[in-house]
């Protein structure tokens, strides 16, 4: 057989049937479910008199709509409550391998909870009605977001109708400098290839700088693959992957473990495999990144200045920059380090794991938020992350600094619950989207790493965490 990429291997091992036009039925091993994109799918199933093909492939939680404080009051917003209760009822009726409902000790953002529980395993196909499902590619699993019709399709048939994407490799060579994180790598890659650069591709992240990342860093990176336009991101399996999975509640045990881990070790691209497109970045040259506009590709290193639209020759792009600067309330040529922030959000499926919280705590320890910063929200990705952070005393460090320590959930990443920006407010955020209105209507989002967000909270404006 000719040399295969990791993506080729994952794809071909899941093809159930191939049609004449190359459309295939792809078998799905793990189906992650949350409250926002599933109700219409379950309802469709019911209306058609169908039953789930394999309910033991489903692992579910409530995350998007749940409040992050005053859990004793339950969900006050009646519309949000109905959505969460609908999920409770659907799981009770249709079944699941595991369910972490609102206020469960292990409730969490679906992309934090899945890996944490061992629900995501190397070699799997993983789908979820959420675009950031690309996160799970960090495990050498083929993982991508799907729409609600597809959620229903997977529930009913255990398959997805799909067409193969092309292979792209993003190679980050060398080593990252101190203070530079997976988030900065993700933003630098998007800055390089653009938000549509990965459209139609599955991106494998490779190179020594990627090998050097922890599993949590790899999840951060694959999480942002969708912001580069790629439906799926991948990192090859290595010993770190296997060590991370070992002992998780849903991971294989005993004899099965030996067989599984031996198979997983084969989940790497063959040395001479062909990639349709290749991008190389020097890891040592990547600096801490800050987005200045309303698309993740509008990003620059912290030492740079807000771009000047007059320097942009292309009319559509120039209009895009002008519109972004107007929305963001920024003047051309302002140094990024002079932009003040009103709020700071540390959380989301991109950056709410224990290492992210440790990185934030390391920056803030013994310091306080600036008086001009009205709110700093720290929202752990799951109940288990929260418990771990509290066991390490991180919550006390945050509280002493004037930060708020919240219950787990998506929170101000998309502001479906009460956590949001007011019109005109500016936020340093560790989340993944800086679209207009994403964190609240009229809110202005700058995407950064947890360390950079924390430094901005203390300084009151963006600052280079390497010299802070």
């Amino acid at each position: 057989m000719s040399a295969q990429t990791l993506y080729d291997k994952l794809w071909s091992s899941h093809v159930v049937h191939e049609g004449s036009d190359g459309t295939v039925l792809l078998y799905i091993d793990r189906h992650l479910v949350h409250e926002v994109t599933s109700p219409q799918a379950y309802e469709g199933l019911k209306l058609a008199g169908r039953t789930p093909w394999r309910s033991d492939s489903v692992v579910a939680t409530a995350d998007h709509n749940t409040p992050t404080d005053h859990w004793e009051r339950g969900i006050v917003d009646p519309v949000s409550r109905q959505q969460v209760e609908t999920l409770d009822a659907n799981i009770a009726h249709f079944g699941a391998r595991a369910y972490f409902p609102f206020r469960d000790a292990a409730q969490g953002i679906v992309h934090v909870m899945g890996p944490e529980q061992g629900a995501t395993l190397p070699g799997m196909t993983v789908v979820c009605g959420d675009s950031h499902t690309s996160t799970h590619g960090a495990f050498g699993a083929l993982a991508f977001g799907i729409g609600t019709s597809e959620v229903e399709h997977v529930l009913a048939t255990q398959c997805l109708v799909a067409k193969k994407a092309r292979n792209m490799r993003v190679c980050v060579t060398g080593e990252l400098a101190a203070g530079v994180t997976a988030k900065d790598v993700a933003l630098a890659v998007i800055g390089r290839i653009g938000t549509a650069g990965g459209t139609g591709y599955t991106i494998e992240f490779a190179g020594s700088a990627i090998r050097g990342l922890s599993m949590e860093g790899r999840m951060t990176l694959c999480n942002m693959a969708i912001e580069a336009g790629a439906r799926a991101g991948l990192v090859a399996v290595d010993q770190k992957t296997i060590d991370y999975v070992a002992g998780r509640p849903l991971a294989p045990k005993a004899d099965a473990w030996a067989r599984a881990s031996a198979y997983w070790a084969t989940l790497v691209s063959d040395p001479d495999a062909h990639f349709d497109h290749e991008v190389v970045l020097d890891g040592a040259e990547i600096e801490p990144q800050v987005t200045w506009g309303t698309s993740p590709e509008m990003v620059l290193p912290i030492g740079a200045k807000v771009p000047d639209p007059r320097a942009e020759p292309d009319a559509t792009r120039r209009a895009g920059i002008e519109r972004a600067l107007a929305y963001m309330g920024l003047d051309a040529n302002t140094p990024l380090a002079e932009i003040p922030v009103d709020k700071v959000f540390i959380g989301s499926c991109t950056n709410s794991r224990i290492e992210d919280l440790r990185a934030a705590a390391a920056v803030v320890r013994g310091r306080r938020k600036a008086d001009s910063v009205t709110q700093v929200l720290v929202v752990p990705g799951s109940g288990l992350v929260k418990a771990q952070a509290e066991a390490e005393g991180l919550d006390r460090i945050f509280l002493a600094a004037g930060f708020e320590w919240r219950e787990p959930g998506c929170s101000m990443c998309l502001a479906m619950n009460a956590d949001r920006l007011e019109p005109g407010e500016r936020c340093a955020s560790t989340s993944n989207r800086n679209f207009e209105g994403r964190q609240g209507q009229g809110g202005r989002t700058h995407l950064v790493s947890p360390a950079m967000a924390t430094a901005a909270a203390i300084a009151g404006h963006f600052v280079d965490v390497r010299t802070f």
Partner: protein
């Protein structure tokens, strides 16, 4: 699903790149557990001057007169003309639900984000990729001529302008078939139930831990 064969539709130009699904349908409307009723909130934050919440009566709101959808000449448009990377962002199928509910059956752009592109087909909305230069021409003609319509023929895979100029577009055989006939995709897949079962049995032996 609603079938799609041909359409003669008024064109509405949305002249910006990277239109994301948060813009197409803001998150507060995702709390609904229904598939319908999203049309009045399509592009909510661009379309209204006041802040929209679920359950508000659209007739009591303040439309933004500058937003293209509110201009009388584009009322009743069925073809949305967009730019690069249309539909990027979240996987929310509420985006095509809102477009369809409003009355759009075709979206034309030089490129689309994958998940949105896929979601459109499931809801009887036809996303068409045309060359950037062609899209540029369509924008220019649409701005220049009030009542500008395009003819779309799915069977022939062609878009025809009033000038008579026409362009071919790509679509996979499977999607074309489903859309032309308005087929239920789950029903089609279940024709392969035996193959799925056989695949699953093999997998159960080779990788038993996936079934624990």
């Amino acid at each position: 699903m609603k079938a799609f064969t041909t359409l003669d539709g008024l064109v509405c130009p949305l002249d910006r790149a990277n239109v994301d699904t948060d813009a197409i349908i803001p998150k507060q409307f995702l709390k609904s557990i229904k598939r319908s009723g999203f049309g009045p909130n399509l592009f909510d934050e661009w379309r209204y001057l006041d802040h929209g919440e679920p359950g508000m009566d659209p007739s009591s709101r303040r439309p933004n007169p500058d937003f293209v959808l509110n201009q009388p000449r584009y009322r009743g448009a069925q073809v949305l003309l967009g730019r690069e990377n249309f539909g990027c962002g979240s996987s929310r199928e509420h985006a095509p639900w809102a477009l369809e509910d409003y009355g759009f059956r075709v979206v034309i752009a030089p490129s689309f984000a994958d998940i949105f592109f896929n979601n459109c087909y499931k809801n009887g909305v036809l996303p068409i990729v045309l060359d950037a230069a062609v899209v540029e021409t369509l924008f220019a003609e649409c701005f220049a001529h009030e009542g500008y319509t395009l003819h779309v023929d799915l069977a022939l895979q062609r878009v025809t302008a009033p000038s008579g100029a026409s362009w071919a577009f790509d679509i996979t055989g499977h999607r074309k078939d489903c859309l032309l006939k308005g087929l239920d995709e789950i029903g089609l897949t279940l024709h392969h139930a035996d193959a799925i079962r056989a695949f699953e049995e093999r997998r159960r032996i080779e990788q038993p831990w996936l079934f624990a």
